[in-house]
């Protein structure tokens, strides 16, 4: 039929998405930064001058050295060293790994959990929904410090534990968001079409509703990932964060906190800067995602 001519050339969803994404220069910079940060974190063992987690190579005699000093083992500590003699550059590179892992893994887990429960609440309705949403309320009212402290008490410190704590603290946000959008999606006619085509509840929920609830999840995921990273820093500051000897960025900052007034600015400043860059990059990407994924702003 002659309609063919009238149609725009086919473009995959991803292609369209990517095109719209890169239209914004600031977002591109953010994406570039994020890629650099992730690369640097991945390559840390190869580019860091020191293995900051190996207590045999960290020497307390090197502690509190200003940027550019030489370590006992000979290499230059470009960003100086922290209170126990850890090379800050190495500490930041490795810390970035942990922080990103913590942020991303807790984000993914919390998102999955929240997604499932939020979806279920919206789809099932009735008592299931009431129950899930009450637990969400409960979760949102529980101080995160307390949750983390209880979990640390039960399980001990560690990356996995902090991730668990962050998941426990954050899943409810996802559940709330997903439920809200799933409630909207559920009323759309394509869901009725699926029912009328005799497709099962599970299939309708997972194949039809779920993909359409992902956009807001992705958006809050970027914010929550950034938030998780800085929350981990706060928890470390409050003494319930990650282990001392394998510091994340948050631990490095928290440890440097006591030096802030002493003139040894670098101990907390450089990790802070790294955290800032990471979170800004994630948020720039997230902001753009929000715009790109928001159908209402798509003219």
């Amino acid at each position: 039929m002659s309609e063919v001519a009238a149609l725009p050339p086919p473009e995959s969803a991803f292609g369209r998405f990517a095109r719209r994404f890169i239209e914004d220069r600031v977002a591109l910079i953010g994406l570039g930064l994020l890629v650099v940060v992730i690369l640097v974190a991945l390559l840390a063992p190869w580019i860091a001058p020191q293995n900051p987690y190996d207590l045999a190579s960290v020497d307390v005699m090197d502690s509190r050295q200003p940027p550019g000093s030489h370590a006992g083992e000979g290499f230059t500590m470009w960003l100086g060293s922290d209170g126990v003699g850890r090379d800050l550059l190495s500490g930041i590179l490795y810390g970035l790994r942990i922080s990103l892992t913590v942020g991303i893994v807790s984000g993914v887990l919390a998102a999955s959990l929240g997604l499932m429960l939020g979806l279920l609440a919206a789809y099932a309705g009735g008592r299931t929904e009431t129950l899930i949403m009450r637990v969400v309320d409960l979760q949102l009212a529980l101080p995160s410090v307390l949750v983390a402290l209880i979990l640390v008490a039960l399980l001990g410190k560690g990356v996995d534990k902090i991730i668990l704590a962050l998941v426990v603290v954050q899943w409810a946000y996802y559940a709330r968001t997903v439920r809200a959008s799933a409630l909207v999606e559920r009323r759309k006619e394509y869901v009725e079409a699926a029912r009328s085509l005799g497709l099962s509840h599970a299939r309708t929920m997972l194949r039809h509703i779920l993909p359409n609830c992902l956009a807001p999840v992705i958006v809050i995921a970027t914010v929550q990932t950034a938030h998780a990273i800085s929350l981990e820093a706060t928890l470390s500051f409050l003494g319930v964060g990650l282990p001392q000897t394998e510091p994340s960025l948050g631990v490095l900052i928290a440890n440097g906190f006591q030096y802030m007034l002493s003139g040894k600015y670098w101990i907390s400043f450089f990790p802070g800067l790294a955290l800032l860059v990471t979170i800004v990059a994630i948020n720039l990407v997230g902001d753009r995602l929000r715009d790109v994924l928001n159908p209402r702003l798509e003219r």
């Binding site: 149609l7 394509y190 029912r195």
Partner: protein
């Protein structure tokens, strides 16, 4: 023509009950009452094989709800649905599936009725694969055939819904419904969102499919022009109730119910130039709080005291022509 679907005494109520907190508040003197919408109220309907039934009425009168009951999406609150003469609640799973697939719905909004994240080919091909109409290898050919049947290039299978025009989306919706080999299509305002020129194409497609596949339709529309064009029988609804039903010629030729007459008068027509618009007075009442007796009486020019007291019963005005009005049933006084 054999009977395909029969509805008897179908009602659909949406109830919002008073919860515990509300009941406690009532004890304390508040007045929380359950809110009930009689979206569909005691409707009888028969659809024969290959027949087109037009369902007409104004916004909120329960057309879509009735359509959903027919399509098995909503269970009715009261009444029975018979599929090929058998009560669907008394059927085994197999037969029930045959009913579910045998009635398909085509929706008003071509955009929201297509999953925006699925490709056209998938949208059409999912259900037949799940239900075993075709297997993974055969799916391609199966879907291609459907695309051609509704006048779409199979090339478009890889596209997402937003990459289609309104008319094409409507066609995908039709192909999706046809994919499970239905016998009855419920078209809920399926052409209302389309431009006239595209609407004409889709109406033509419906008529072609009817001829080729012997499909029956329940054609929901508020556009009397469209219904007059396509329907064999017409059902007029007002606030959840059927006020008049009958063969097309009877409804358009000798309308009995004052509401039907008002509707017909109010329809703008190409051949009525610079006319003075005469109107039914008043607003459409809220289905939450419908007027007593005959729902139409506050707006009816002929209303009498009986109309606000008694619910009119269905009377046969002629063969197959049924009207629910006191005028046809002993007067309004």
């Amino acid at each position: 023509m054999s009977e395909l679907l029969r509805l008897t005494g179908i009602s659909k109520r949406f109830t919002k009950s008073v919860d515990l907190a509300g009941r406690i508040a009532n004890v304390l003197g508040a007045k929380n009452v359950p809110r009930v919408v009689h979206a569909v109220d005691d409707v009888d309907l028969v659809v024969s094989a290959g027949e087109v039934v037009g369902l007409v009425g104004e916004s909120g009168c329960g057309k879509s709800t009735l359509g959903r009951v027919i399509a098995g999406i909503h269970p009715p609150s009261a009444g029975a649905v018979f599929w090929e003469g058998r009560d669907i609640n008394a059927m085994d799973a197999e037969a029930q599936k045959a009913f579910t697939l045998g009635v398909q719905m085509i929706f008003q909004d071509p955009m929201s009725s297509l999953n925006p994240r699925m490709r056209a080919g998938e949208i059409v091909g999912e259900a037949p694969r799940v239900h075993g109409f075709t297997d993974a290898q055969g799916q391609r050919a199966y879907v291609d055939a459907l695309f051609q049947q509704v006048g779409l290039d199979p090339e478009y299978k890889q596209r997402l819904p937003h990459q289609f025009s309104g008319g094409q989306r409507a066609r995908i919706g039709i192909a999706r419904a046809l994919a499970v080999k239905p016998r009855l299509l419920v078209c809920d305002e399926s052409v209302a969102a389309l431009d006239v020129s595209i609407q004409a194409q889709v109406l033509n497609l419906f008529m072609d499919l009817r001829e080729q596949l012997g499909l029956a339709y329940v054609f929901i529309s508020h556009d009397l022009g469209v219904v007059r064009h396509i329907a064999d029988r017409v059902v007029i609804m007002y606030l959840g109730r059927v006020v008049e039903s009958g063969p097309r010629a009877a409804i358009f030729g000798t309308p009995q119910h004052p509401y039907t007459r008002a509707l017909l008068e109010n329809v703008p027509r190409l051949d009525a130039r610079k006319r003075r618009f005469v109107t039914v007075k008043g607003e459409i009442p809220s289905p939450l709080d419908p007027p007593p007796g005959c729902h139409f009486h506050p707006r009816c020019p002929h209303a009498g005291p009986r109309c606000s007291r008694e619910v009119p019963v269905k009377t046969a005005a002629s063969q197959g022509h049924i009207v629910a009005c006191h005028l046809a049933d002993g007067g309004v006084d």
